[in-house]
């Protein structure tokens, strides 16, 4: 297993947001965790990245325990996140944002060819290179956040609510891109989404999270057929 999570508990003060979640990802999988607002999806991703503390449990990544590792060490071991609401560096230019994504990797990656590849995926970024990132639209910022994560050629990409605040046409584009990155480049992706329809469509497997616990799991196409899930998350 590339990522293995055992009995993960996350609490903010006395309030437990995630209570005893266990799941895992194999190399090359695209897995999604779907659930309603406030179910604890973002908490799980933040705990995986190391920006939120773990109360109890164990996280294994690429054969090593990372439960207590600071975020920057996890990033260096090949984990990257596309955070909720993009969180690009607003006053840095688009180009600088991309470079920061490649921080510490100068010798490990071919920066120029990596940038060229990203401009192919996101043509808008090449046009905006010298512009402060804050001047871009929400959709463009989301693309920049994805590019900032991809430039490092991560071993595991965590994607947090990428559909939030995007217009439907852009959502399709982003999900299509994630699908292609997974199938064509073999990128392992853990997707956390409120948009159950779109994420189940591209995922191999999925988990359903309800108030801090995983209540269903299985192949994404099976879950999409499950009447209980259809009723709650797919609206019919």
């Amino acid at each position: 297993m590339l990522l293995e999570v055992e009995d993960l508990h996350i609490a903010y003060g006395d309030i437990e947001a995630v209570s005893g979640v266990s799941f895992g990802l194999e190399q090359g999988e695209l897995v999604s965790i779907i659930g309603a607002n406030g179910a604890g999806k973002t908490s799980i991703l933040n705990a995986l990245m190391g920006v939120v503390g773990v109360k109890k449990g164990r996280i294994m990544f690429a054969g090593k325990e990372i439960t207590r590792l600071p975020a920057f060490r996890r990033a260096r071991s090949g984990m990257r996140i596309v955070p909720e609401r993009a969180r690009i560096f607003p006053r840095l230019t688009v180009h600088e944002n991309l470079l920061v994504g490649a921080y510490g990797l100068r010798k490990k990656i071919d920066l120029d060819s990596r940038l060229k590849w990203l401009y192919g995926l996101f043509p808008i970024l090449e046009k905006r290179l010298g512009q402060p990132a804050s001047t871009m639209s929400g959709g463009e910022q989301q693309q920049l956040a994805i590019a900032r994560a991809l430039i490092s050629s991560p071993g595991l990409l965590l994607v947090d609510e990428v559909s939030m605040g995007l217009m439907p046409k852009l959502v399709d584009g982003v999900f299509d891109l994630l699908y292609r990155l997974n199938r064509e480049e073999g990128l392992t992706i853990l997707l956390v989404e409120q948009n159950a329809v779109a994420s189940l469509e591209i995922s191999g497997r999925a988990y359903v999270l309800e108030t801090g616990s995983l209540v269903h799991q299985g192949p994404a196409d099976k879950l999409a057929q499950d009447p209980r899930i259809r009723e709650v998350y797919l609206g019919h």
Partner: protein, 294 residues
């Protein structure tokens, strides 16, 4: 140039050096500091003691002074790593008061009498005073600004900028917040120490109140006025806030009131400073000189 003008110009240049250090900490790395005068003072006191008690020349003492300032900056920076924003501001104010109290109450530092009899700086057998001392300070300012310019173009600078913009997002791409905050503290306090050494050898008498909390506010006002994170901001801020009180001599009693008003007005109307990307000054400049706004 008259002696009066040279004195003002020299103080402006020394302040600009110290504010360059503050710019690294606040402007580049985004770590608010309201206690920068403490490190200015540590530089000045180290230089004064090494010159008067150890009998070292300015040049022999300078590497030591800069090292002492940055090591103390590192040590005092360590507890600051545990706090952010408002709490960091309060912590740095505390640091300023503690350092000032140490200078004031420990006899080794001269107590309330301060340290006098600090010798002039000699260069090639020449005792520097007046205009030649001003030129020496100017040379150091060029050195410090070159270092700052280089810092903004290297990977470490970029890492600091990212940290300033969003600490969590920066950590999530592999930037160690601890490492780069400390780097900024060390570089910034080293520059403050250099400024302090020049100040001690220029005034030739220093006392604790030269490095009190209001001085920190003055230094921060210079930076905010010029524009945090901009290369030329420390010099511009130091020139304006150094020259204005001289021009408006009768207002000198109200200097702190005046600085505070400037700080508040800038924060309210021009938060990015005179050199900031969306500042009024830049817009006017862009209209007068084609391309001058950049």
């Amino acid at each position: 140039m008259s002696g009066y003008l040279i004195t003002i110009a020299t103080i402006i240049v020394i302040n600009a050096i110290v504010v360059c250090g503050l710019n690294v900490i606040v402007g580049y790395a985004g770590q608010i500091s309201l206690g920068h005068a403490a490190f200015f003072g540590i530089g000045a006191y180290s230089a004064a003691l090494l010159a008067t008690k150890a009998g070292l020349s300015f040049w022999a003492a300078l590497p030591l002074v800069v090292t002492i300032s940055s090591v103390v900056g590192l040590l005092l920076g360590l507890p600051s790593l545990r706090v952010k924003d408002d709490f960091l501001a309060i912590t740095t104010i505390g640091i300023n008061f503690i350092v000032e109290a140490v200078f004031l109450y420990i006899p080794f530092f001269g107590g309330a009498l301060g340290i006098g009899g600090i010798p002039r700086i000699c260069l090639f057998g020449l005792r520097l005073k007046g205009f030649s001392f001003f030129l020496l300070c100017l040379a150091f300012l060029v050195l410090v600004m070159t270092a700052c310019w280089w810092f903004t173009r290297c990977w470490a600078g970029l890492a600091c900028f990212a940290l300033r913009e969003d600490e969590e997002a920066a950590a999530s791409v592999g930037i160690s917040p601890v490492r780069f905050k400390l780097l900024a503290f060390v570089a910034g306090t080293a520059m403050a120490g250099l400024g302090g050494a020049l100040y001690a050898h220029y005034m030739r008498f220093i006392s604790a109140s030269d490095f009190s909390f209001p001085v920190s506010i003055t230094l921060l006002s210079m930076l905010v006025l010029g524009g945090m994170g901009k290369l030329w901001a420390p010099l511009l801020g130091a020139v304006i806030l150094g020259a204005l009180p001289e021009i408006f001599r009768p207002l000198v009693e109200y200097r702190i009131l005046f600085y505070t008003a400037i700080l508040l007005l800038m924060i309210r109307f021009q938060p990015s400073g005179l050199l900031g990307d969306e500042s009024l000054a830049r817009k006017v400049l862009a209209k007068v000189v084609p391309g001058g706004g950049r």
